[in-house]
């Protein structure tokens, strides 16, 4: 079974996925390209957390 930390990471991706899906349902263009998803994920799962860590 995944560790507690791994569950936390998975939960973070699940939240990122829920937002991506919510946008995608109403603006389907973002669902058409892997590279858009990659850019989105890099922003929400790397750049934003890194920025927040730097601020606090």
């Amino acid at each position: 079974m995944p560790s507690k930390r791994q569950w936390m990471v998975a939960a973070g991706y699940a939240v990122a996925g829920a937002v991506y899906i919510a946008i995608g349902v109403f603006y389907t263009d973002i669902l058409l390209s892997f590279f858009v998803a990659l850019a989105y994920l890099l922003v929400v799962a790397w750049l934003v957390p890194a920025g927040v860590r730097r601020l606090f």
Binding site: A10, G17, V25, T28, L31, A37, L38, L41, L42, W46
Partner: protein, 260 residues
């Protein structure tokens, strides 16, 4: 990375022209999307086994990477073989231009991107994608940081080169992006098709039957015999080369250990 690129390779330059795009005052779209996408004349050769072999040879002999060569070819073959599941199929044995097709789900690329998506995520294609998502969830360990650092990162020089410019955390996110994208697009298109627009599910063979699907003609008996001959030859070559490789490897090991 090469596996992912290989899996996208067949459609990367063609799908936009199949669906059509609008740039300024120009509408660019293939006059016969099915012929363009899967046929010859057209770019249907991108869905053939030979196309993967040519790219593999380029990666191996020009760029010197067997890992990229083999991985790219596996990804491209996976796409080309998977697309034989629809009603048009692929010219798997190009330059032989017959279409290998099992007709499990409807090909509806010619209807435009939205109807195509609605059809795909209403039929057996959606079930097929779901199988891989479930398999990915059961194989969750391959998505962990430790697996990436111990197995993926050392196996492909791309990652270490990229690591000169971006940190490991970003690479890990990029590595996970393919599964993230595949899973999210499946859920999003399913919601779009069935909750927002109420397209009916039809997971019967060849479905959904509410869409105007394109079809390739059935293979004749001589064509089937030809396909069987090609596949049998390929399997025979694979096993003979494997046996030969095994015999040589064993001889090398015995020689090294001075057993004979």
């Amino acid at each position: 990375m090469p596996l992912l690129l290989g899996s996208y390779a067949p459609d990367v330059m063609s799908k936009w022209f199949v669906y059509g795009i609008h740039i300024g005052g120009w509408d660019l779209k293939a006059t016969d999307p099915v012929q363009f996408h899967r046929g010859w004349p057209g770019v249907g050769f991108t869905h053939s086994l030979l196309y993967g072999v040519v790219w593999a040879l380029i990666f191996w002999r020009v760029f010197g990477s067997k890992t990229w060569a083999l991985s790219f070819m596996i990804g491209q073959w996976a796409h080309a073989i998977t697309d034989t599941g629809d009603t048009v199929g692929t010219m798997l044995f190009f330059p032989w231009t017959i279409h290998i097709h099992f007709g499990a789900w409807a090909y509806a690329g010619q209807t435009g991107r939205l109807t195509d998506a609605a059809a795909y995520f209403s039929g057996p294609g959606a079930v097929w994608d779901l199988v891989w998502i479930v398999l990915g969830i059961f194989s969750w360990r391959v998505l962990t940081r430790s697996y990436f650092e111990q197995h993926v990162f050392p196996a492909d020089a791309f990652w270490s080169k990229a690591n000169r410019f971006v940190p490991m955390t970003a690479l890990l996110v990029a590595y996970r992006a393919a599964f993230f994208y595949g899973t999210c697009r499946w859920i999003a298109w399913s919601i779009w098709a069935h909750v927002v627009h109420h397209y009916p599910y039809d997971i019967s063979w060849g479905g959904p039957h509410w869409v105007n699907a394109a079809h390739s003609p059935s293979l004749t008996w001589p064509q089937l015999a030809g396909v069987f001959g090609i596949v049998a030859t390929g399997v025979a070559i694979f096993f003979v080369s494997r046996r030969e490789f095994g015999r040589r490897s064993w001889a090398a090991i015995r020689s090294r250990l001075k057993l004979a």
